[in-house]
Every structure is written in structure tokens, then in C-alpha cells.
């Protein structure tokens, strides 16, 4: 193929896309072109505008300026139907599947004219089987989607697009929910698609995946195109710099000096709740001055363990000891009194009360005690002072202590929660996904503070679905799978692929 064919090979062209949400400029004059048979990675921090851009392309949002061209035809703005018909398929970060319908029905949805008298399930089932075979996307067409694993659901989403004969596939953070092995399988599917002349846009903020799966990288920063490079000509470090706009130094914790066991779980069992597994007899020691990282695919018991430590749930069987003393009454209040600092997974829903002020949120865990409460009455001046101290000590960017917490960015909200936990002088810190959705600046800040807390003698349990994060921060790693724990692996003793085996369930049955 010669260079002259270059222009004809362009399957998708975005020209000068601009989108505002109120005062926020989410996309600022972004242009890009996608060629036939290539994987382009769209790289950027959270909030850089990647997802917004793709939602404009797909017609979920309308751009304030600019236009989208697919196979040389201009797309009418704001119509997902038009994008679909033009051959664009999108796999959203949050899957758009109906749990109570079968795989086949989810794939069929919207593919036939509404007023037809038949769904044509038979022919559809045969086509889905053929596509599964061709692209390596094994899934049972008659299973209810609600009963599938996350990886299987993603395959259904990709099948949906392929069933509609999409020629351009957009994948929004596709690996966020997968084990390393599942990610490998996904990349294999992508390679098969590209080999058949399809084009893929792959949104990610994970550098190693971008390096592994793409031919070309576009970097977005603060809503602008910050750079475009061929993957072969760049490195992780160069991409990271382009992404943040400055050189970054990942935290490099000094070796830990582990002390006494502060919290011990022995044979602890908690009941499953709905589709969420419980704990199935786990032993866990959290030592002073040590970060224990818990890796695992989401939904394997992390929630149950976090609820247990937070005091939201009590063990059904097994022992729980704090500093060697068995725990009898266990409740959120007891957990607080025992000195367990809690950074919850969902900072919006359980970490803060969105319409309360910073002041009110700052004292959520101490409101009933002096100095915030005196003789049963709130001392708002003391509360405000506490909030003001947090704002200064943790560099929380906000209009002031009376601002509603809803107005803060995720990073600043997390700093408030972090400050609230650390200022209480915790014995044990439960950090559940402490940096999810934060930009690199805030990530580094939170991680540095957790390391500092460790060095000050706290026992830290770090729960994260991001294996890189677990490996960077943890002195000891354990893997959770289906409510059971792997043995302890000291820092550096296992490769990500080996941990991936444990995450996928190999061997965990024999542990605990």
C-alpha cells in the first residue's frame, strides 16, 4: 500500500470539537483522524475529556462546535442511531446491558424495525455464534446477562457492536474491570478485528496497556490534544509526561518496619448479600507500620471485608481481635472508637453527604464528642475551626468551609476524607480504592500521605482493583477471590501475571 492511499483510508475524522459543561471546557478544539485497520489509543487523566469526546462522536452529547465525519459522510449531531447506522459501535465504561434480559435479547435490541411481528431469534442466534467464533468472544447467548461475569458482559457489548456490523469500535476504559489475563484476551480480540480491517479507538489511562495494544497514541490534557505519537516511537515515561504536562515521580516507599499485629481476623465468615459474595473464612493480620495491599477483581469480597472493618457488618463466624483483645460488640461506632480510620470506596455516597458543607462533613465522625459537641449542643465555631485546619493542612481547594461538598472536585473531596481520617490518629486505616477517579496530582498526594501514615505507625489495608497501585504501595500483597484470601506475598515476590492467576481463582481454594 502506498502513501497516496492515506486519505482514502481515513474512516473517521473529528474536526475542531468543542464542548462546554457550564464553565468547564471539556473539549477544546480537538481534531483527530482514524485509519482503516488501526488501533488508536486515547490517553489522558480522568477529566481530560476522553469520554466526553467519544460521547460526542457517538451522539450521546452534542458538540458546541466542530463536526464528525464517518466514511466521508458528516454525522448529524446528537443521534446515537445515526452513529450506529454509520458503523460506529461503542463499548461504554459502564455497560449498557439490561440484566434481566438474555444475552441474545440484549444483542437484538434495536436491530430490527420496531413494528416487525417477529424477533428472528433463530437466525440471530446463528449469527452471534459465528461472530463469537470468529473474534474469540465466547458467551452463552441464552444466559441472563445478570448472571454473567464482568468479562463476559464486556464480550456481549463487543458482540452487540459487531452484530450491527460496526466498522469502528470505541472502547471506553475496557480493562478497568478485567484481570490481566482477561485483558490479554481482549487485546487478542482487538488484533483479530484490526486484521479484518476494523478500526478501534481505545480509551485508557493505563500506560502499559496503551503501549501493548495500540499503533498510535493521542494524548488529551485538560480538554486539549496534548500530543500525537506512533506507539513504536515513544515510551511510558514520555507518555506520562505528555499526559500530566510535567515530569512525575511515582511514590517510592522506603522499606517498612512492621510492628505488632493491630487487627487480626481468624476464620472470619460473613454472609453473602445478593450477588455480592461474603467472606468465606479468612485469616488476616494487619501490622503496625505496614501497608497490606489487597488485589482482586471487583466483586470478590472486597466489599464484605471493607464493611466488616468499617463496622457495618459483624462476623458471622470466626474471631476478630484488636491488639490481641477479642471484639464482642461490633458496629460503626465501635470501629471508630477502636481507632479504625475509614476511607470508603464511594466518596460520594458513603464518604460524604453531598449537600452538607465542608464543615459538617469534616466533623461527621466526631460531631458527638468535645470539642465539637458541648453539653449536647453543637459548637459550630469549633467545627468550623476544625474544617479550616483540614483545608489548610491538606491543601483542599474550595471556596471556604461553608461550601457544599458537592461543589468540590473528586480529588479535593478525597483530601477532606483523608484529612478527617488521619487527623483522628488512626490505629488501622482502611483505604478502599483511595485514588480511583483522581488525577495524577491528587493520586500522588493521597498515596504519599498513606505512606506517611504507615511510617507513623498505622496499619494500612489498601484495597484496589488497580494492580499497579497495589504493587507500588504495598509492603505485603494478598489476593482476594470469591471471598477467600491468598497467602501473603512480600513486596516484589510475585509478578503481575502470577497475581493475575490468583485473581482468576487459581489456588485460592487451598489457601486461608
Amino acid at each position: 500500500m502506498t502513501q497516496d492511499h492515506g486519505a482514502q483510508d481515513i474512516v473517521l475524522r473529528l474536526t475542531n470539537i468543542t464542548k462546554r459543561f457550564g464553565a468547564l471546557l471539556a473539549n477544546d478544539g480537538i481534531s483527530l483522524a482514524l485509519r482503516r485497520g488501526e488501533v488508536v489509543a486515547l490517553l489522558g487523566e480522568n477529566g481530560a475529556g476522553k469520554t466526553t469526546l467519544m460521547n460526542i462522536l457517538f451522539g450521546h452529547y452534542t458538540a458546541d462546535e466542530g463536526e464528525v465525519e464517518v466514511f466521508g459522510q458528516k454525522l448529524p449531531p446528537g443521534l446515537p442511531g445515526a452513529a450506529l447506522r454509520a458503523g460506529v459501535g461503542m463499548v461504554h465504561q459502564h455497560f449498557t446491558l439490561a440484566d434481566n434480559l438474555t444475552v441474545l435479547d440484549n444483542i437484538l435490541l434495536g436491530t430490527e424495525p420496531l413494528w416487525r411481528l417477529s424477533l428472528g431469534r433463530g437466525a440471530a442466534r446463528r449469527r452471534v455464534a459465528r461472530l463469537s467464533q470468529e473474534f474469540g468472544l465466547a458467551v452463552d447467548p441464552d444466559a441472563r446477562v445478570g448472571a454473567l461475569s464482568v468479562g463476559e458482559r464486556q464480550r456481549v457489548e463487543i458482540l452487540k457492536a459487531l452484530y450491527r456490523e460496526a466498522r469502528i469500535l470505541i472502547l471506553d476504559e475496557p480493562t478497568a474491570v478485567l484481570t490481566p489475563q482477561e485483558s490479554e484476551a481482549l487485546f487478542d480480540t482487538l488484533r483479530r478485528m484490526v486484521a479484518q480491517g476494523l478500526s478501534v479507538i481505545f480509551i485508557s489511562h493505563k500506560l502499559h496497556e496503551v503501549m501493548a495494544a495500540s499503533q498510535r497514541v493521542l494524548v488529551l490534557r485538560h480538554g486539549r490534544l496534548a500530543g500525537e505519537v506512533a506507539t513504536a516511537d515513544t515510551s511510558r515515561e514520555a507518555l506520562a509526561e505528555m499526559m500530566v504536562g510535567a515530569e512525575i515521580t511515582p511514590p517510592a516507599p522506603s522499606p517498612a518496619r512492621p510492628g505488632a499485629v493491630r487487627l487480626r481476623l481468624a476464620g472470619v465468615v460473613t454472609p453473602p448479600q445478593g450477588t455480592r459474595p461474603g467472606l468465606r473464612g479468612i485469616d488476616l493480620d494487619l501490622r503496625a507500620g505496614q501497608i497490606l495491599g489487597l488485589a482482586g477483581v471487583s466483586g470478590n469480597g472486597q466489599g464484605a471485608l471493607a464493611d466488616l472493618l468499617s463496622g457495618l457488618e459483624a462476623p458471622q463466624a470466626g474471631r476478630m481481635e484488636l491488639d490481641g483483645v477479642p471484639v464482642r460488640q461490633w458496629s460503626p461506632r465501635a470501629a471508630l472508637a477502636a481507632g479504625i480510620g475509614r476511607i470508603p470506596e464511594d466518596r460520594h455516597r458513603t464518604g460524604t453527604i453531598a449537600d452538607f458543607s465542608l464543615t459538617e462533613n469534616a466533623v461527621l465522625e466526631t460531631y458527638a464528642r468535645p470539642p465539637v459537641a458541648r453539653r449536647g449542643l453543637m459548637d459550630w465555631r469549633a467545627a468550623r475551626r476544625a474544617a479550616q485546619d483540614l483545608i489548610e493542612a491538606y491543601d483542599i481547594r474550595c471556596p471556604g468551609p461553608e461550601a457544599r461538598i458537592r461543589l468540590l472536585s473528586g480529588g479535593n473531596m478525597q483530601k477532606l476524607i483523608l484529612g478527617r481520617v488521619l487527623e483522628a490518629g488512626p490505629v488501622v486505616i482502611l483505604a478502599n480504592q483511595p485514588v480511583r477517579g483522581l488525577d495524577i496530582g491528587a493520586v500522588t498526594y493521597v498515596q504519599d500521605r498513606l505512606i506517611a501514615a504507615r511510617d507513623a505507625g498505622a496499619a494500612v489495608l489498601l484495597i484496589s482493583e488497580d494492580l499497579d497501585e497495589v504493587l507500588t504501595l504495598s509492603d505485603v500483597v494478598r489476593v482476594i477471590c470469591d471471598g477467600r484470601l491468598s497467602p501473603e506475598f512480600p513486596r516484589g515476590s510475585k509478578t503481575p501475571a502470577e497475581l493475575g492467576q490468583w485473581m482468576a481463582g487459581a489456588g485460592v481454594d487451598h489457601a486461608a
Binding site: H60, R85, T96, L97, G110, L114, W115, S118
Partner: protein, 315 residues
Amino acid sequence: MTELFDILMQASFWAAVLRIASPLIFATMGELICERAGVLNLGIEGIMVIGAFTGWIAVYAGLGLWPGVGVALLAGMAFGALHATLTVPFGLSQHVVGLGITLLATATASFAYRLALPEVTSPPRIEPFAPLHIPGLSDLPWLGEALFSQTALTWAGFGLAGMVAFVLYRTPLGLALRAAGENPQAVAAQGLSVTGLRMGAVIAGSGLMAVGGAFLTMSAFSSFFFEMVNGRGWICIALVVFGAWRPGKALLGALLFAGFDALQIRMQQTPLGQVVPYQVFLMVPYLLSILALILMSRRAEIPAALMTPFNRGER
């Protein structure tokens, strides 16, 4: 116990069951369509009143019976359109809007009645639907009276239940409707209009509710009273839950409730009725419905996005 057996042996009892079930079937199917698409329609009680009134007044004004049913259908769809506009594109609380529609529709019927018939003390009668004579079947001894002495509207109701089931489970439209009630994002991502689907479902469903109301004035009785709907709309909402959002089971529920109702009327005439106050009998179908509801709906799969408004482009 012999009294109970005697009642069950009466052909007129079974005829009454089918008659009492008919308005419930129409309205339950209407509510089921709305809820399957994700919208709870609490306007049902008022929309049944409007249907009962408009169908009856149209026939009184000189229209034929079937055109009268058509008028009721359109009146129901009009209130459905109002409900749909407020709850779907505007995303207002479905509870508040639904109760509001019930109050508005009931009051509108009352107001229109006074405007149309200012001087009347007792409402005029119309000539209602006559039982449909099915050659052969209707002439069977006992069975003919028990099962084949119904009006065409009753048969339409049974046909409707089958049609709703077919559309929901066998056609692309039904799949799209169910998906709109399960996960509207999935519908939007496939390029369909959630707003269009939901509004269509609420409007069509409301039309059916009104036909259910019209059955009361045009087939069961021959005149219009304000109290005649008498909570049937609320019963239909319970029947949808009882039927686990499935047309077949909901139809069964309607027949069961009608059976209890027909039974209690007849039990009042027995010696037991001399001792027990009649109000107790009136309670029986409701008590048994609650019991059945508890037993039947424990494992029901409620549409996951029921009562969740959908806003595209929200962040």
C-alpha cells in the same frame, strides 16, 4: 361448606367471575405496559373514571357502542399523554403526577357530568353491550351460561392479554419496551428513543385503562355513577405485582380476584351471612388478594428501572 359447593356449581357464579374480571383485565394490561417500560402510572383510578364517563356519555349522545369505546380509549390516551409528558421528558415524580392525574381525571368527569346534565337527579341509562351469542357453545347446557354468555368486550379483554404477551415477548417493539424498563441506557445506546418508547407505552396503557373503565358503564352496568370504579384501579396495580409483570399471570390474578369477589356476594346470602356483618364479606377479596400477593410476588423480578427517570446527556 355445602353452601360453598352450591355456589361453585352455579353457572351464574362463573359468568359473574368473567364479568367482574373484564374491566380488571383491560386496566391491568394497561398498567403492565406502562410499568414494563419503566413508568408507574398511578393515574389509573382516575383514568378508569374518565373512561367510564366518556364511553357512557358518548353513547348517550347518540354514538354507537363501539365508537363509544373508541371515545373512552382516546380520552384515556389524552390523560396518558399528560402523564407521560410530565413523567418522561420532564422526569417529575411518578407518584405525585399519578395521584394528580387521578384527582384531575375524577374531577374532570364530575365537572363534565354536571355541565352535560345539569338538571338530572339520577343518571340516564344507555343500552349496553348484549351478551354475544356464540352458535353451538352458548347453547351448551350449564357451560353455555357459565362461560359463553359474555359480551364482545369481555372476549376482547382476553384477546388483549394474549396480544400484550405476544408483543412483549415476540416482537422487537416488546423487547425495546422491556429494555426501557430494565436499563434505559441500553436502549439509548442502541439508538432507540427511550422517551418515545416510554411515552408511547404510557399513552397506550392509559387508553386501555379507560376501556376498562368504559366496560363498567357499557357492559357491566348501563349507567354512570361516580363511585363505580371504587378502587379497581388500585387493585389493578396490585394485580401487576401479583402477576410478576407478566401478562399471563396477571390475567390469572384478575380472574382470581374476580372469583373472590363473586364468591363474597353470594356468601352474603347464605345462613352465614345472617350472623356475620356483610362488611366482613366485602373485605374478603382484598384480604385474600393481600395474602396471594405475599405468596406470589416474593420472587418477582421488578423492572429494574421502574420509576427511574432517564435523562440523556446528564453527567
